[in-house]
Each structure stands twice: as C-alpha cells, then as structure tokens.
Amino acid sequence: MKLLVVDDELDVKDMFLQRFRKEIKAGKLSLVFAHSGEEAIELLSQTQPMDVVLILSDINMPGMTGFDLLKIVKDKLPALKVFMVSAYGDALNMDKARENGADDFIEKPVNFKLLEEKIFSTQ
C-alpha cells in the first residue's frame, strides 16, 4: 500500500518513516513525500494513478493549500482517498474538508495509533 504524505515541514518525512518503520520493513506500507501541493500534483501525474492509494495532506501550506489539492485530486482521481491533516481541528475546517470530499480528518499532533487503524481500514 502506497501513501503520499504532503506537508511543508521537512521533518514530517523522518517522523513518518520512523513511526511506520516496522510496516515499511514488513513491506505492508510504502511512503512517498511531497513538500507542497504543487509537488504532490506533479508526483501523482508521474506515477501510476493506482499506485498511490491514500494521500495525507496538511491544510496550511504556502502556495497551494491542502484544500486546493483536495479539490484537484477529487476532481481528477476520485477513487484516491484523501485524509486532511491540520493543527486547526475546529468544526469549520472539518466541515470544509468533508464538503470538499475528504475521506477523513486528522488533527495535529497526530495520534499515530489512530492513523494506523484508519490507514489499514481503508484497504
């Protein structure tokens, strides 16, 4: 299962790699990273659409926001699941995420156990 993590914070990559090191070693999960919405779109257009099955995207990023990315992805690849991740887990953001077709909403700081459950339940 391939996951695309989109966040402008560089350390997110290390965090995810460490957190899911066992799953990665076991071959259950593979991770790709993008530091902006634009980069994510580019990555998605390069790889096979079916390759990535889930996107974890931050909302608040310079340039293209997570919501922009969500709209584009849901427009072009409606089958692709998208989880929104944001520090502002207020009702408005969650509503907006759902309105735009997000499959779930994850609040920062990320509860990885919950995330893990959610990730594997999408399969």
Partner: protein
Amino acid sequence: MKLSLKSKIWFTMLSVVLMFAFFVLFYFPEQQQKVLLNNYNTEVQNLSNTVALGVKIALTEQNFEGVTTAMDFVLKKDELIFVSLIQTDDSTKEKTVLKTVPEDYPVEINMGSIDTMIVKVSPFVTPTMSGEIMIGMGTHQIVESKKEIRNTSLIVCLIVLCIGVFIGFLLSKNITVPVLALRDAALKVGEGDRTQQVNSNGKDEIGELGRAFNKMVNELSIAETERKAAQQQLIQSEKMASLGQMTAGIAHEIKNPLNFVNNFSALSVELLEELEESTDEEDKIEIMESLKSNLKKITAHGKRADSIVATMLQHSRGSVGAKVPTNINQLCTEFTDLAFHGIRTKSRDFNCIITKNYDENLPLVNAIPQDLSRVILNLLNNGFYAVADRAKKSELSDYKPEVCVSTERKEGSVFIHVRDNGSGIPSAIKDKIFEPFFTTKPTGEGTGLGLSLSYDIVTKEHQGMMSVESEEGSFTQFTIQLPI
C-alpha cells in the same frame, strides 16, 4: 493700509482734538467777532442817529450852541475817533464839512469803515439846511475781545489736548494692552502652547473676552489631553489587534514544532525499548543513529517554539525604545510566516504566493525589533487584504495573488520592499494613506492607524523613510528605507 489698534486709537483721538481746536481757535472767534461787529455797527448807527436828531432839533430852533452840545454828547464815548457835521447843498447835492470834533481830524466826505474804525452816517433835514452827521468809532475793543477769546480758546484747546492724550493713554492701556496680550497669547496657543492665560480682571467686554479666552484655552487643553489619551488607547488597541492577527499564526507556528517534539519523543521511547531488546549489532547502530537524530530534532523544534513565544512576547510588550542590532531578513521571515498563517486561519479560502527575495549580504541594522515587526506585519496584512480584494472583485481564474517581500542594501541604507499584485491604491487617496484614522476598510476591520503608526515607527523611531508606489488594479509596493 494696515494700522495697529494703538495707531487707530491715537489717530481718532488726535482727529477729534484737532477738529475741536479748529472750531475753538478759528470758527468760534470769527463768528463771535461778526456778532460783535454787527452789534457795534448798530450801536454806532444809533449814536449817529441820536446826534443827527439833536442837531436837527437845534438847527430847527436856530440854537447853534445846541448843535455843539449834540455833537459833544458822543465825545464821552471812549472809542470815538471823530464826529463831523456835513452840509448838503440842496440844489447841487454837493457836500461840505462844516465842523469836526476833534477839529484836526482829516475827514473826507466819502469815508467808509475800515478795519480799525466803523464810520456811520445819519442824514437830517431842517428848513434852514439839510446835511448829515458822520461818526467814526474805533474797533480797538472788539479786536481786544477777539484776542481775549483767542487766548481763552487756546487754553481750552491745550486742556482738551491734555485730556485727549490722557484718554488716549487710558484707552491704550485698557484696550490695546489687553488686546495685544490676547493676540500674543492666541498666537502662542496656535503654536501649541496650551498653558497660556491672560489677565482677565477687567469688568468690561475685554475682561469678558479674556475670561472667555482663558476658559477656551483650558477646555482646549483638557480636550487635547483627552484626545491624546484616546489616541494612546487606540494605538494600544491597534497593537492588540495586530497581536490578535498574530495569535492564529502563532498557534500554528507553535503547534507544529510541539507536534514534532511530542512525536519524536514518543518515537525515541519506542526506539529505546527496541534497542534494549535488539541483539543485532547493525540494528543497534541504526537505532542509535535515529535516536541521535531525533534528539537533535527535538532540541531544534523546542528552540523554534521558544523563539516564537519570545517573538510574541517582544511584540506584545510594546516599545521600550531600545535599539538592538537586528537581522532584517530573519525579522521579515518570522513575521511574514506569522502574518500568512494568521490570515489563513481567519479566511480559510485565502491563497497567495509568497516570494521572499532577500539580500544575503544585509548588515545588521540598529532597530527596535518589536516596533519594526509591527510595521512588517501591518504591510503584509495590507498586502494580503489587497490581493484578497482583487481576487474577490476580478473572479478571473488566471489571477495569481502574490505578495513579495524583498530586502536590499543600497547607498548606505537597507531597503525593505513589500509588494503585492492586489487591487492597488487609487491615486486620489494616495496622499492620505499615512494619515491617522484614514481607512478604506469597512468599519470594524481597520482602525486606520496601521500605516500611520508604521510611518511614525519608520521615520521617527528609526530616522528612516517610508514610501508607496501603486497602480490601481495592478500593484502596490511599500518601501522602507533604514539607515545603517
């Protein structure tokens, strides 16, 4: 012609005195003399008539001594110069002087009045002869009395002049002096001195004016103090508002590093447990490397959160006026991020490309960071507002909102440019944007103090310059110039 109040008072006083002097010295004596002369003429005519009557009676009675007696009657008069008996020839009408008293006075038949003498003639007719009596009387007394009137008038004039001068002084003292004091005080009040008070003991209108003036200055001073206090409060609320704008940005900025600190700490605990259980040396080395990297990341993110809190505190503390060598690029970065995250939380749809174009060789600038940061925050918020405004108005899909922050070193100064491709500033209001309380934002969205405070911070606190270039519907660029 510009005349001072004092000159006007003196001019009026002297005109009145001069007019009075003209009447008293010339007009009145002249009139008086005319009346006296008229009376004197009548008197002389009466005398002449009386003598003529006496002579007529004496001649009718053939009493020639009576003629002399009648003529002597006027000799008692002090002013008498001569009295003559003149015979008129009935047929030829020729006149002959028969008798003159005093005898040696050279009488001529057709003598008229002159300045020093009044001459009057009274004809008489008797059966024996017809003729006339001619009397000449001196005007010495009249000339004398005229002189007396003149002298008296002169004295009166001098007294009036003295009184005039005295009144002039009094008027000057009572009107000019307080009015001039009022003028000077009003000028000083105009220059900003609100402590001016004038002497206002007078019970007249000028005293009232003085009291009104003092009251006005006092009220002005109170109003000014109140206005200053209100302004101070507004400045404070503007500061708080900008802090409010920052809060959301700050929350995001702090939550992110805290997220890393928490996650990397938790991961490190897991790694340590794995390390204890692991037997594979290679695995152990790998875990140790990860642990080391995690601890470094925890430290880095902890510091990041710490510096954000420090920045916020610095910003809210207000100006303490201390200038410190400041890294302008770092300040711009920090506050651009704060402003951006701030507006992102406020309006979730907001989107904008932020370009940072910094001169890496920028020297440290002596600045008050907490004040300068407010300027940058304010300019960025304005820029974001402008691009959002244009995006709302244009609804063109190809409009890409962009805010660019750049720095450069040029000619002994450091320049900060904040440029946006937003709605721009109409040229009609370009001159007003730095004025306090000027705002184009809807009520409640802006205090109208942001740019005016920013301008003061740059020009007064940092001896720099702040300027704006803009084209409506195209771009706006604010430039801050700070001396190195």
